[in-house]
């Protein structure tokens, strides 16, 4: 029988950016610290974490949160990780609080092929908002779906309109449609100088990127972050040489079409 035991190096090849990863630690205890160290060294980022707690800043999944590698967290409790709390209030970390029993059961449902189940937990509280409710034998229950997410890499925020993080931005941009249309006409008519077009392109990209990424790339001091910055610089250079104004115009008009 083939052994399922692998080396740490082999195990680490399974981790990539944008994956949904479940962490087994309990307030940072009982955690796979070596694997987490490996993930930090490898530079895995944009993680969608499922963890019973936010760990501690120097223990468990908390270490990844501390390094801004986690973009979303499905959890029950982050009381022992003040970094996670600060990131949540700053809008950098998307935290979904789930009652612990519901959390455990949603994971079990996902793993055992169930779409979810019905629970009385959280009836009459904020947790029931947006959930379907049913009454069975006179007792009220609410529906909970399984907590199974597919570990697809996070799509680029600009190119993929399906990315949930983009939607709020687009909605926010809605009232600006007339303004954008004017901007398009203006772009057609005015011959922009270099300075203006650089600013415009950059600010547009910045607006369209998701908030977590904005902060992430700005503050990430890791090798990966630097590489990303280098790549961005290179891209911008290319854009320059290919006639930036033309590109900006196309971009703006396609944006208007999308809207």
């Amino acid at each position: 029988l083939k052994s399922k035991v692998v080396t740490k190096e082999e195990a680490l090849t399974k981790f990539h950016d944008g994956q949904t990863i479940m962490f087994g630690d309990w307030h940072g205890e009982l955690s796979a610290e070596e694997i987490i160290t490996g993930m930090l060294e490898k530079g895995v980022k944009d993680i969608h974490a499922i963890a019973v707690s936010g760990g501690m800043p120097d223990q468990g999944v908390g270490r990844l949160i501390n390094e801004r590698r986690v973009v979303s967290l499905a959890t029950t409790h982050i009381g022992l990780n003040p970094v996670a709390k600060d990131q949540m209030f700053a809008g950098e970390l998307d935290v979904e609080f789930i009652p612990q029993g519901t959390f455990a059961e949603r994971i079990r449902c996902g793993g055992s092929g169930l779409g979810g189940c019905l629970t009385p937990t959280g009836i009459g509280t904020d947790v029931e908002k947006g959930k379907q409710k049913l009454t069975i034998n006179g007792k009220e229950y609410m529906q909970m779906s399984h907590l199974l997410r597919h570990g697809k890499p996070t799509p680029s925020a600009i190119s993929n309109s399906d990315c949930p993080a983009v939607r709020p931005t687009v909605i926010w941009l809605m009232p600006l449609i007339p303004l954008l249309l004017k901007l398009r006409n203006w772009l057609k008519s005015v011959n922009l100088d270099r300075m203006k077009s650089t600013l415009l392109l950059r600010s547009l990209i910045w607006f369209m990127s998701e908030p977590a990424k904005r902060n992430h790339s700005a503050q990430c001091g890791s090798v990966q972050g630097q590489r990303q910055k280098q790549r961005q610089k290179q891209k911008q250079k290319e854009v320059k040489s290919n006639g930036r104004i033309e590109r900006t115009r196309t971009y703006c008009s396609s944006l208007c079409q999308v809207l």
Binding site: L30, T76, H77, L80, G101, E105, T121, G124
Partner: protein, 219 residues
């Protein structure tokens, strides 16, 4: 026995709710202290959310087993005859109504039996952990709390203002000043701590409560 005061009195009063052999879940902090005041001849099966039935006393750090921790992540032990189970089974006990009583701390509690202890929007958001499941499934929810906040504001309200942890689930409220039972008619003042009068309680409690003919002494 010396007269108990403050939090020790709360813990001692809560401990008197338990019968021998009860299966009990105690919240972190003050509720955990209840085990120190169990009446003679009463032994409990303590449940820890992490999946322990028969949680024991906390060992010294040097003897602690890093794989054996309680709901708060602190080292713990398992009593003779105790067992461990997985996370979903642990909450099967809780939600399924197999636990006799739970003692919880709180931020706010109101006269309808609502409890709010998991979040102050924009200020504090530790998360609800297992508290919502306890509220949903446990028959007897005892709230052990200071009567007032440090500012002097009553924690026992007419209506909770913070996001709820559980709706209409609290059965008893124990503070360092008195013990209220939650009934369908409202709060009933059952016992007073030594040195307090009904008027004292009225002055420091926002919620309405019923004063029965007989009021016991809390001990």
């Amino acid at each position: 026995m010396a007269e108990l005061k403050g939090r020790a009195l709360i813990a001692a009063r809560c401990a008197r709710f338990f019968k021998d052999g009860d299966f009990v879940n105690l919240g972190i902090g003050l509720p955990t202290q209840c085990v120190n005041y169990l009446p003679e001849g009463v032994e409990l099966w303590l449940e820890a959310e992490i999946g322990i039935v028969g949680s024991g006393v906390a060992p010294d750090w040097k003897d602690a087993d890093p794989d054996l921790i309680d709901a708060g992540g602190q080292p713990t032990s398992v009593i003779k005859g105790g067992s461990v189970c997985d996370h979903t089974t642990s909450f099967t006990y809780i939600r399924g109504g197999h636990i006799d009583a739970a003692v919880l701390g709180t931020l706010e509690v109101d006269q309808e039996g609502n409890i709010a202890n998991w979040m102050i929007p924009g200020v504090l958001a530790p998360g609800m952990g297992g508290a919502m499941d306890l509220c949903a499934g446990v028959k007897k929810i005892v709230v052990a709390t200071d009567h007032c906040e440090k500012s002097g504001k009553s924690k026992i309200l007419k209506k909770c203002t913070l996001p709820l942890t559980g709706a209409k689930c609290v059965t008893d409220i124990v503070t360092e000043r008195c013990y209220f039972e939650v009934t369908p008619e409202g709060l009933v003042l059952r016992e007073l701590a030594p040195g307090y009068t009904v008027e004292d309680i009225r002055a420091c409690t926002e919620a309405d409560f019923i004063v029965p003919d007989e009021i016991g002494v809390m001990q």
